[in-house]
């Protein structure tokens, strides 16, 4: 065995730029999403082998991460291995920021690091989807992808990563939490799925050309479509602030409670606009924080 212990790190996301139903190459419809990565928040996993033949975890509620580590060992270790997995994270739980997925991915990476194995993104995704039911697309760092979160497959790889954004992040319902597993996925009407075609087209174009305004339009449209399935209180008020202070768009966690105003870091008026927006959000009595991606 190569190492005494292994470590792995995974990042959070700030919800999704787009989530819906999309055609795969064969024309069949799959649920898909494009996560908005939030590298400022991370989960770090440490895996230390021991004499037991099972994996234990702390904190103990990180059962899915434990399962993922265990499955990674079954898949990649040449001898049956047990050990202890420790997770340290600063990702808020139940906000739709991918805390659970980040734990799972960090754990898989920790086991791979311990084993000294390099594998494909696809096989990591497969273990993650098995452990987690659904997964996000934060693992794809070189280029943004439209990811079928329940099938673990890439529906479309875009030419570039998501352009840098300044996000004013707001928790719209701090008192409630949404569980990925318990949350009933959106039941779209057959005609409703057509909505996602033009959104996918504009998103592709926005990413390929680094067009933050178009990115914001896609995120805004996706946020409003999602209101039918997981409404966010006071989203209309937040949209008004976005429009008043020149945000590129409004963006949400489609299975969570956070929302964000997206600003273009290249625009010279952005710092001032963000200050004004933050003050307006404070005046609504909502708490906010800023992420620069």
């Amino acid at each position: 065995m190569a190492k005494k212990r292994g470590t792995g790190k995974a990042i959070a996301h700030h919800g999704e730029l787009l989530q819906g139903v999309f055609e795969d190459a064969g024309g069949q419809l799959l649920r898909g999403l494009v996560s908005l990565p939030c590298p400022a928040l991370t989960s770090i996993a440490t895996f230390a082998p021991n004499e037991r033949d099972e994996v234990t975890v702390s904190p103990t509620f990180c059962e899915k991460a434990r399962r993922a580590a265990s499955q990674s060992l079954v898949t990649f270790a040449r001898v049956r291995t047990g050990g202890h997995l420790r997770l340290v994270t600063n990702i808020p739980i139940g906000r739709g920021m991918g805390s659970s997925t980040a734990d799972v991915l960090a754990s898989i990476h920790a086991v791979l690091d311990y084993l000294g194995i390099v594998t494909t993104t696809e096989s990591i995704m497969r273990i993650a989807v098995d452990a987690e039911t659904a997964c996000d697309s934060t693992l794809f760092k070189q280029q943004a992808v439209l990811f079928a979160q329940r099938d673990g497959i890439v529906l479309e790889a875009f030419r570039k990563p998501i352009p840098s954004l300044n996000i004013v992040s707001v928790d719209m319902a701090p008192a409630s939490t949404v569980s990925t597993l318990e949350f009933q996925p959106a039941q779209y009407e057959p005609g409703e799925v057509e909505i996602f075609r033009p959104l996918r087209s504009l998103l592709r174009r926005a990413i390929d050309t680094g067009d933050v305004l178009s990115l914001g339009r896609v995120a805004t449209a996706s946020a409003w479509i999602n209101e039918r399935f997981l409404p966010k209180p006071r989203l209309r008020e937040l949209q008004a602030i976005a429009m008043r202070y020149g945000a590129s768009g409004l963006q949400v966690a489609h299975s969570g409670t956070i929302a964000g105003l997206l600003f273009d870091p290249v625009d010279a008026r952005t710092p001032e606009n963000m200050d004004l927006a933050i003050r307006a959000i404070d005046a609504l009595g909502l708490s906010q924080r800023t992420f620069l991606t």
Partner: protein
């Protein structure tokens, strides 16, 4: 997540070719636009169990929708019955026959609803006599506008953010569907619809019309009036000369409703420099070679052909006024009764 029915053998014919026409104007040139909504309606009908293998499709149409259904029926082994009228020209009749379509031509107009209503009444007889047959009902079927998400996506792929959409209105499916999908992303989008004199779609009193494909004597449910910022009305002579111009200036041999879209889009584009405009050109010109593109035929059949044509529209105070030339009305995304005031459709 959903198992979709796919009748896509002719899909390569569905997308328009996007042709730059100078300034920031693009023409979306369709081979036969109706192939898209026809295919989409049939797929959804199969999914809902309304159309079974080898089933019978019945529709009222005197134009391109009939042809699209006929092509799809041959591809997918359906039987097709079309109720048409005089507007179904000789060439199209021949094609429909060759495609195995059962044709029923209505000879006399309904006293108030014209040929359109007469056709619909005849169609109801056929539907009663052929139990289990499927009526796509392009004028009211929501799948007609819904099909155009694909076109909105295509416009974004080629043009990027669209500022203005221009096109003729018949069933309303293409303009209202495309506009609805584009507006989701571009709320400031301007939508300019084109109708013809004597058509009730946007408030003209019903009377004889000389071009088909746009306008009508009945207001289709798929016309969502609240989508339109501006409505233009053109005479038959203006529409036909515009189709000639599109051919002469850009080499594009397209049908009369394409000509109408070209005329209005060119004017709108010239008056809004820098705005990205897309005009919908729904079909090619071949079907009209012996009529619209035959100057002798036009001179003999189209009123006021020799009259000089206006370079720009006259803005009218209300949609119901008597029109002789190119007219324009700032519709302002209102409902029909809101515009007409009395809440009653005309005619």
């Amino acid at each position: 997540m959903f198992d979709r029915v796919r009748l896509r053998n002719l899909e390569e014919f569905e997308d328009p070719r996007m042709v730059p026409l100078g300034g920031h104007l693009f023409g979306a040139c369709f081979f036969l636009m109706k192939l898209l909504p026809a295919r989409f309606m049939l797929e959804r009908a199969v999914e809902r169990g309304q159309l079974g293998p080898g089933g019978i499709i019945c529709e009222s149409s005197s134009g391109t929708f009939a042809l699209a259904l006929a092509m799809l029926s041959v591809q997918n082994d359906y039987r097709l019955l079309i109720v048409g009228d005089w507007a179904l020209d000789r060439n199209l009749r021949r094609r429909l026959f060759q495609l195995g379509v059962e044709l029923d031509i209505v000879e006399t107009a309904h006293p108030t609803g014209g040929f359109q209503l007469a056709r619909l009444e005849r169609l109801q007889d056929h539907l009663r006599n052929k139990p289990g047959s499927y009526w796509p009902a392009q004028y009211s079927n929501h799948d007609n506008p819904t099909a155009y998400s694909k076109i909105a996506a295509r416009f974004i792929d080629v043009v990027g953010p669209v500022d203005c959409l221009v096109g003729s209105v018949g069933s309303g499916g293409s303009m209202c569907g495309t506009a609805r999908y584009l507006r989701l992303l571009f709320p400031e989008l301007k939508v300019v619809g084109i109708d013809t004199h004597n058509s009730v779609l946007f408030g003209q009193p019903n009377a004889l019309r000389h071009v088909s494909g746009l306008g009508g004597g009945i207001i289709p449910a798929n016309v969502d009036h609240t989508q339109f910022d501006e409505i233009h009305w053109l005479s038959a002579a203006e529409i036909i000369s515009a189709a000639h111009d599109l051919h002469k200036k850009h080499g594009l041999f397209m049908g009369p409703t394409s000509g109408a879209a070209f005329r209005v889009a060119r004017w709108w584009s010239d008056n809004h420099p820098g705005k990205r405009v897309v005009a919908i050109f729904p079909d090619e010109g071949h079907r009209y070679a012996d009529t619209v593109f035959d100057v002798a035929w036009v001179a003999a059949n189209i009123p006021n052909w020799t009259r000089t044509r206006s370079e720009e529209p006259i803005t009218v105070p209300s949609p119901g006024v008597k029109m002789t030339d190119w007219a324009r009305y700032p519709w302002g995304r209102r409902g029909l009764s809101e515009v007409l005031g009395d809440g009653l459709p005309p005619g």
